[in-house]
């Protein structure tokens, strides 16, 4: 088994697609708009529309939908936890009671809405990293924050930190996978026993991982210093960002889609009960 091969969150998958060719600033702004749109959605029907949008985006990015959906796996436990919390601890019209726990109509709606929101948030956010290389992403973030530099905002440093974090997600997943395999090969049982036992059995994975992480951070810092890295001032770019008409159209398209979805969301309340 490749233990962590389902982890696609934070990975960049290079394919020749329309979405990949867009300017990173356009993709960052579009993702921000999409995430806002998801927060505004109240009706199940609108969430279905977001699902359709997700499939269309996957097609346009030439990414298999299975791979895109796989990026939500790391947060499934969080989604489940949030869903259960809302399901059992929301006041309203009681439907079922299991001992001291009461499931209400409002609880079901809230649990469903929050779960959908979380899953869609992660899925749309992962599109950004799946279709944008860490370097492009850093350039995009830096460019978008550059107006704030005059007020002392560390745009370049922030972009660099984000890039390094994103760049090292797949590397650390690979390292974790390798250490897990090495310990399993020595007879470790990482997936057996209760929660605390599993936590304890993960120590032989976590300790070497921490050692490697600190070692890598140290190596990276030394490598950057030895190449005279001194922050963003005076740095030039090999490939300067270039905003094209296609970027404007794509951003307008996303904005229009969100406005339409919000209009549908408001009008649906005439004949469909909202989730929230």
């Amino acid at each position: 088994m490749r233990f962590l091969n389902h982890m696609t969150f934070g990975q960049y998958i290079p394919t020749e697609s329309l979405i990949h060719r867009l300017d990173p600033r356009c993709k960052i702004l579009a993702t921000t708009l999409l995430l806002t749109g998801i927060f505004l959605a109240d009706h199940a029907v609108v969430y279905i529309l977001w699902g359709v949008a997700l499939i269309v985006l996957a097609g346009a990015s030439k990414l298999p939908i299975r791979m895109v959906l796989g990026s939500a796996r790391p947060v499934l436990i969080l989604v489940l936890f949030t869903g259960l919390l809302h399901l059992f601890f929301t006041d309203g019209t009681p439907l079922v009671s299991v001992g001291p726990l009461v499931i209400t109509r409002e609880g079901i709606r809230l649990a469903a809405a929050m779960s959908f929101r979380l899953v869609f948030l992660v899925l749309f956010a992962s599109f950004l990293t799946l279709t944008t290389s860490p370097m492009e992403l850093a350039d995009g973030i830096e460019s978008l924050f550059s107006p704030l530099v005059r007020f002392g905002f560390p745009a370049h440093e922030l972009a660099m930190m984000m890039t390094i974090s994103l760049r090292f997600i797949p590397t650390l997943l690979d390292e974790t996978d390798r250490i897990m395999k090495a310990q399993i090969a020595r007879g470790a049982m990482l997936d057996q026993g209760n929660f605390f036992r599993r936590l304890q059995s993960f120590l032989p994975v976590l300790i070497p991982l921490f050692v490697i992480v600190f070692q890598r951070a140290e190596d990276l810092a030394v490598a950057m210093e030895s190449r005279c890295y001194k922050g963003g001032s005076g740095r030039t770019r090999m490939n300067p960002l270039c905003w094209k008409n296609s970027d404007s159209f794509a951003l307008l398209g996303v904005a229009l889609g969100i406005v339409l979805a919000e209009c549908a969301d408001r009008n649906l309340s005439w004949f469909v009960t909202p989730l929230l």
Binding site: M1, R2, K62, L63, M67, R186, G187, M189, I207
Partner: protein
């Protein structure tokens, strides 16, 4: 009693843009007391193959059997396979975690539920084999040098008393002395305890020197399977798979061209072919003069 690999195939991330065929139609057999070297350039599938032999990766195509136990997901006997086949990963010193050297080496036998007395005996035996003094047992493994850490990691695998040992580039990053010591130890383990050894390496010279058989992989496929003697005549073609012939062959040819006597297993033509040279070059006087100068 052997590891039997039949028509093994494995693909990473099937059905995605990252799809990579790591292994295709690999077959061979490793018997106790045998030394097989798996040679190939980076990305040829060597490490993927190693993980199949220990049950860490179940075969997607073909089969792997360890002493008659099929290596299949859900078979329930994968732990038994892992007990029989010890796997030493590349840079094994990076897997260290315990507070003391003793705890680190005893990790595997404890996981196999050995009684405490037996654990102690195995730790002492494995440490002695690797030249780890008992005085260091209560020290932190993190306070040792890279080569010593690797010895501790290998000792922890040996302490499980495996019947076969699979080593993924065990000499990578070691100095010449440590490398020689490690290879001598493996040789000794093979002859005294009849351990079947599968060594994964880039180093063709080491493979030619140590192995009874060599498996040469290229892009996940079996490019050559045979004895070291059989491999040399094939080396010219093997250059196409980015494996340079060992330096010792180049040295032999230079010595021969100067008129020195060099004992050779192969004939002139084979040697010259292996070095990608015209067979007649050794006989040419100007070549000899050039070498001499």
């Amino acid at each position: 009693m052997s590891i039997v690999v039949s028509a093994l195939g494995y693909t990473y991330h099937p059905g995605t843009p990252l799809e990579t065929v790591a292994l295709e139609d690999i077959s061979f057999q490793l018997e106790p007391g045998q030394w097989i070297s798996v040679v190939g350039h980076t990305g040829s599938g060597k490490s993927t193959l190693a993980q199949h032999l220990n049950g860490l990766l179940p075969p997607q195509r073909g089969s792997v059997e360890v002493d008659g136990i099929p290596c299949r997901k859900g078979e329930g006997r994968l732990r038994e396979i892992r007990r029989i086949v010890g796997l030493v990963f590349q840079y094994p010193e990076q897997q260290l975690f315990a507070e003391t050297v003793f705890d680190e080496i005893s990790y595997a036998p404890r996981n196999w539920s050995c009684p405490e007395q037996e654990v102690e005996r195995r730790v002492r035996t494995a440490a002695e084999r690797l030249g780890i003094p008992e005085a260091t047992f209560q020290r932190s493994p993190f306070h040792f040098s890279g080569g010593e850490k690797r010895k501790i990691a290998i000792a922890s695998v040996l302490a499980a008393s495996p019947r076969y040992l699979v080593l993924d580039e065990p000499t990578a990053g070691l100095d010449t002395t440590s490398r020689k010591e490690l290879l001598a130890l493996l040789k000794e383990l093979r002859s005294s305890e009849g351990l079947g050894i599968l060594l994964i390496t880039h180093d063709l010279e080491m493979a030619l020197e140590m192995s009874s058989r060599i498996l040469l992989l290229h892009e996940g496929r079996r490019f050559f399977w045979g004895t070291p003697d059989e491999l040399l005549p094939e080396l010219t073609e093997r250059n196409a798979v980015r494996l340079a012939p060992p330096d010792i062959l180049a040295l032999s040819s230079r010595l021969l061209s100067r008129g020195c006597s060099v004992p050779l297993t192969w004939d002139w033509e084979t040697l010259a072919n292996a070095l990608n040279r015209d067979p007649s070059f050794i006989l040419r006087k100007n070549e000899a003069d050039e070498c001499a100068s």
